[in-house]
C-alpha cells in the first residue's frame, strides 16, 4: 500500500505543475463582465494571468500591480488619475502593460507621480499606450531589462515646475526605448545612472526643456531618433562611451539652445547624424575623445561651438553646408583634429585633382570670434566692412586660433 501513497504524492506534484503552467487564465474586466473594476480583476489573478480590460472609463485611484501579470486593454480603455493619483505602480517582475489610455495623473514633485511607474523590477514591458497630461509619463526606477515601446506621450504644461519628464529612467540597466512619441513634457527622455540601454526611433518634439537628457549614464546608444523644436535641444552630460547614430536634430532655437550639448563626455561616437536650423548644432565643453564622422550640418547658426576645454575630438568626412558660422571657439588652444570635411565656404583650389583642397581651410572666421565676445556685433554681420575684416584675417590670422584648421578639406561633399 506504500506504493499508493507515493503515487498520491507524485500525482499531487504533477497537478501542481499543471496548475502553474496551464491555468494561466484570462480574466476579463468591464462593465458587463464579472469583474467591474481592474482592481478586482488584478486581485483575482495570479502570476502569469492576463487581465483583459474592455473599453470604458476607469477611475481606480492608484493601481498597484504586485503580481507578474499581463494587463491588456481593448480599444484603449481610459485610466483616469483624477489629477490626484499615480495611475499604475508596477512592483513585480515581468509585468506587461499594453494598450491603455492613461490620463491626468497627480502632480507632486515630492513623490514624482507618474502615469506608469516601475519600482525595482525587471523585464517589464510597457507598450502601445497613450499617455495624456501625466506629470511624469513612464518612470523606470531601478529597473532591469525593461522595454518601453510604441507609446504616445503628450503633456500640455507650460512651466518646468508643473511638468515632469516623458520617459524617466533612473538607476537602471539594459532598457530598450523604442518608437515612442513624446511632446510637451519637461524632458522628453531622461536618463540618470542608466547603463547598457538603447533609445531607438523615438520622436521627441516641443518639450519644455530637453528632448533628451543624459546624466551619468554610460555605455548607452541612441539611433534614428528625431529631436525637434525642444526648449534647449538635447543635452548629454557626464557620461562615457555614448554612441549616437543617424539622429535628427532640428530647429532648436535660442541662445541657450543647442542641437546637442556635450558636456564632460568621453569616448563618444557620433556618426551619420543630421543637424539642421539649430542656433548652435553642437556645443562641446570638456568633451574628450569624441569621434565624429559622416554628420551633416545644414543651415545652422553655428555648426559647432567647440570650447578650448575639449581634447582629441576628431571630425572626419562631415558636410558643412549653409551654416552662418562653421565653428566657434573661445580660446586659442586647439587639441582637436579636423580632417577631410566638406566646407561649403572653402575657397581653395585643387591643382592635382585628388578631390582634396591644396590649402587648409580655417573654419573659425574672425567675425565669429568678434560675435562671441561682443554679441551685439551680430547686427553688422554680412556688411562690407566685416567681410573685409574676414578677408584680411584669412591672409594674416591674428585673432583666430592658428591651429584650428582642416588641412585636407574636400572639394566635393563627403557623401
Amino acid at each position: 500500500m506504500g506504493g499508493y501513497a507515493e503515487m498520491k504524492i507524485i500525482f499531487f506534484i504533477l497537478s501542481m505543475f499543471y496548475y502553474c503552467t496551464c491555468i494561466a487564465k484570462t480574466i476579463p474586466v468591464g462593465s458587463s463582465r464579472k469583474y467591474k473594476t481592474i482592481t478586482a480583476g488584478i486581485e483575482a489573478s495570479v502570476a502569469g494571468d492576463t487581465v483583459l480590460v474592455d473599453a470604458g472609463n476607469y477611475k481606480e485611484k492608484n493601481l498597484v500591480i504586485k503580481k507578474s501579470i499581463v494587463l491588456k486593454g481593448i480599444n484603449y480603455p481610459v485610466l483616469d488619475g483624477e489629477k490626484k493619483y499615480e495611475i499604475i505602480s508596477v512592483k513585480a517582475d515581468a509585468v506587461v502593460i499594453d494598450g491603455f489610455r492613461i490620463v491626468h495623473s497627480g502632480i507632486s514633485s515630492l513623490q514624482d507621480l507618474s502615469g506608469i511607474k516601475v519600482y525595482d523590477s525587471r523585464d517589464a514591458v510597457i507598450k502601445n499606450n497613450i499617455l495624456e497630461n501625466t506629470f511624469f509619463g513612464i518612470y523606470i526606477q531601478n529597473g532591469l531589462n525593461c522595454t518601453i515601446e510604441n507609446n504616445r506621450l503628450t503633456a500640455s504644461s507650460t512651466e518646468e515646475q508643473q511638468s515632469g519628464n516623458g520617459i524617466h529612467c533612473w538607476k537602471s540597466d539594459s532598457l530598450r526605448i523604442i518608437n515612442n512619441k513624446i511632446t510637451g513634457h519637461r524632458d522628453g527622455i531622461y536618463f540618470e545612472f542608466v547603463k547598457n540601454s538603447i533609445i531607438w526611433r523615438n520622436t521627441s518634439a516641443q518639450n519644455i526643456r530637453y528632448g533628451l537628457h543624459f546624466m551619468f549614464s554610460n555605455n548607452d546608444m541612441y539611433v534614428s531618433n528625431i529631436f525637434t523644436n525642444n526648449g534647449s535641444g538635447v543635452s548629454v552630460m557626464f557620461s562615457n562611451k555614448i554612441r549616437m547614430f543617424s539622429n535628427y536634430f532640428e530647429e532648436n532655437w535660442g541662445d541657450a539652445s543647442h542641437g546637442i550639448l556635450l558636456k564632460e563626455i568621453s569616448d563618444g561616437d557620433m556618426e551619420g547624424n543630421y543637424f539642421a536650423k539649430n542656433t548652435s548644432a553642437i556645443y562641446m565643453e570638456g568633451a574628450n575623445r569624441i569621434f565624429m564622422k559622416h554628420n551633416t550640418f545644414e543651415n545652422n547658426g553655428w555648426a559647432l561651438k567647440i570650447q578650448a576645454s575639449c581634447m582629441e575630438v576628431v571630425l572626419e568626412r562631415n558636410n558643412f553646408i549653409g551654416n552662418t558660422f562653421d565653428v566657434g571657439t573661445n580660446g586659442s588652444l586647439v587639441l582637436n583634429k579636423f580632417k577631410n570635411n566638406y566646407w561649403d565656404k572653402y575657397e581653395g583650389y585643387d591643382l592635382n585633382k585628388d578631390k582634396i583642397g591644396d590649402i587648409p581651410y580655417r573654419p573659425v572666421s574672425m567675425y565669429s570670434m568678434i560675435v562671441e565676445k561682443y554679441p551685439p556685433a551680430m547686427i553688422l554681420f554680412r556688411s562690407f566692412i566685416t567681410s573685409l575684416l574676414d578677408k584680411t584675417e584669412k591672409i594674416l590670422p591674428s585673432l583666430t586660433p592658428e591651429n584650428l584648421k582642416d588641412n585636407a578639406p574636400l572639394m566635393k561633399k563627403a557623401f
Binding site: W253, G254, D255, A256, S257, K277, N278, T279, S280, N299, N300, G301, W302, I321, G322, T324, F325, D344, K373, Y374, P375, P376, A377, M378, I379, L380, F381, R382, S383, F384, I385, T386, S387
Partner: protein
C-alpha cells in the same frame, strides 16, 4: 508734369549706361544662381551686389544725369511750369526707370530661383534702395553747382553709408562693450538705409544664428509689426526727406 516724367523715362531707358546696368545685373544674378550648387549661397552673393553696386550705380548715374540735363532744366524753368513739379517729375522719372532696371536685372532671376520670403524681401529692399539713392543724389546735386563737386559728394556719401558708417558702429560697439547695446543698435541702424536693408534680409537669411540672445532682441523687434512698420517708415523717410529738402532748395535756387 506727366509729359516731363514721360520724357525723362524714355530718355533714360534709351541711355546705354542703364541698359548696360540692367544687363550686368541680369548676368551677375543668373551666374550666381547658376554657378552655386545651392541657391541660398547665390542669394548671399546677390546680397552683396544689392548692398554695394545698386546704391553706387544709382547715386552716380542720377547725379550725372541731373548735371547733364542742366540746360534742359533751365529750358523747362523758363516755361509756365511749377519748379516743384519739374523737380518731382525728374525724381520720379529717374527712380521709376532705375527701379525698373533693377527689377528686370535682379528681380526676375530672384523670382525664378528663389520665389520665397527671402526673395521677395530682397527685391523690395533693392527697389527701395534704388529710390533712396536717387533721392540722395538729388540732394547732393542741388547743393553744388559745380559738377565735379557734386559727383564727388555723391561718391563720398556712398562710401560713408556702405563702409565708414559700419566702421563707426563697430568702434562704438567695442567702446561700449560693457553696456547693453542691443536697443541703441536698432536706433542707430535707422540712420543708414543700407544697414537697415541688410538687417531686414539678415533676419530671413541667418534666422538660426539670429535666434541667439542678441539676435532674438533684433528678431523680436524687426520681426513684429511695429518693427516692420518702423523699418519701412524709416526707409520711406530716407526717400521723402531728401526729396522734399532738395525740392525746397530747388524752388529758391538761382539757376
Amino acid at each position: 508734369m506727366k509729359k516731363i516724367f514721360k520724357y525723362v523715362v524714355t530718355d533714360i531707358l534709351r541711355n546705354k549706361i542703364v541698359l548696360i546696368y540692367t544687363v550686368f545685373l541680369l548676368a551677375a544674378s543668373l551666374s550666381v544662381f547658376g554657378l552655386e550648387d545651392n541657391s541660398s549661397k547665390g542669394l548671399l552673393s546677390l546680397l552683396n551686389i544689392i548692398l554695394i553696386i545698386v546704391p553706387l550705380v544709382n547715386i552716380i548715374f542720377s547725379s550725372i544725369y541731373i548735371y547733364n540735363s542742366a540746360e534742359f532744366i533751365e529750358l523747362l524753368v523758363s516755361q509756365p511750369l511749377k519748379r516743384k513739379s519739374i523737380w518731382l517729375s525728374l525724381f520720379t522719372g529717374l527712380a521709376a526707370s532705375l527701379s525698373l532696371a533693377f527689377f528686370i536685372g535682379a528681380g526676375i532671376p530672384v523670382l525664378i530661383f528663389q520665389p520665397n520670403t527671402i526673395g521677395f524681401t530682397m527685391i523690395a529692399v533693392g527697389i527701395l534702395l534704388s529710390i533712396i539713392f536717387v533721392a540722395i543724389a538729388m540732394l547732393a546735386t542741388v547743393n553744388a553747382r559745380d559738377k565735379a563737386k557734386g559727383i564727388g559728394a555723391a561718391i563720398m556719401i556712398w562710401l560713408y553709408f556702405s563702409l565708414l558708417f559700419d566702421g563707426f558702429v563697430l568702434f562704438l560697439l567695442f567702446q561700449f562693450a560693457d553696456y547693453p547695446m542691443e536697443k541703441p543698435m536698432i536706433a542707430i541702424s535707422a540712420f543708414n538705409p543700407i544697414d537697415l536693408s541688410r538687417i531686414l534680409i539678415l533676419l530671413q537669411l541667418d534666422v538660426s544664428a539670429m535666434m541667439g540672445y542678441t539676435g532674438a532682441v533684433f528678431k523680436d523687434f524687426f520681426g513684429t509689426f511695429t518693427g516692420i512698420a518702423f523699418s519701412i517708415i524709416s526707409l520711406l523717410l530716407w526717400i521723402v526727406l531728401p526729396v522734399w529738402y532738395a525740392a525746397h532748395k530747388f524752388n529758391t535756387k538761382d539757376l
